[in-house]
Symmetry: C2
């Protein structure tokens, strides 16, 4: 890189870091927003698969596989920093997490392992055919729902 | 699984699929929301690293590595379904994508490859020491900023 390019890159980095530091000024709200963004991305990719399963979207092996790959990548993300103690429903605006979540971490991780397995099964099924995709949808939805039923406050 | 458990899992799956189908009823707005969620997750994990780089957060090799791992996982996500044509700024509420993005896909993918490389470098640096983390922050911020400067409408 030239010196000018270096300075430009550093300036962009500094602006970005300043912006991010601002986002960190309310770490609890920021953590809640991050986990909700994570759930939104699960929902979006599940929506592609669910749309095909229901016939609302045409079955496309490539798009279905990409969505399943994304679920596996998302499930691999370390969410430790998203689930800070003190971010349960009532403590932070918009949070729907039950306080029981923080006393049930082992169960939570076991439920997450079921989700990882269901997403991995969907990775294989999604590219096979529509019937396989539909069959893999139940366990995947069940894995999501199991955690919501235990640890998410009802609307 | 017992028959009851099967039925329960199927019911949860059906509810989930119905919810997701609803989310898909405005696919353009849904795609914009998904890519913004993706950017939020980049920002959150970068915020952990940026906070340490600036001294606002104590340096923690494990947490820094987890954040860098997450950036690599996020960068691996196939975003094809998030960047639908017709979702540029002005066409969908809240979108800040310039129309040039869709004529610059090759350049966009090249810029994404730079981000992937910067995130991979951060994966090594983050667990090494604070000075290494700080040094890796510039290229990472630069990779984010390069895409924003070319393809994001200013606030």
């Amino acid at each position: 890189m030239t010196r000018t390019a270096n300075i430009t890159a550093l300036s962009i980095g500094s602006v970005l870091i300043a912006t991010l530091a601002l986002a960190q000024s309310d770490p609890l709200a920021s953590a809640v927003a991050a986990r909700q963004a994570h759930m939104d991305l699960y929902a979006f990719n599940l929506g592609v698969l669910g749309g095909m399963a229901q016939g609302a979207l045409a079955y496309d092996a490539g798009a279905a596989t990409a969505a399943a790959d994304n679920l596996v990548a998302l499930a691999s993300i370390n969410q430790t920093t998203y689930w800070l103690p003190g971010t349960e429903s009532g403590a932070v605006e918009g949070s729907r997490a039950k306080a029981e979540l923080w006393s049930g971490i082992d169960d939570l991780m076991a439920k997450n392992a079921v989700l990882v397995a269901a997403a991995a099964a969907m990775q294989v099924a999604a590219g096979t055919d529509l019937v396989s995709l539909q069959a893999a949808m139940g366990p995947l939805g069940g894995a999501c729902g199991a955690c919501h039923m235990s640890y998410r406050v009802s609307n």
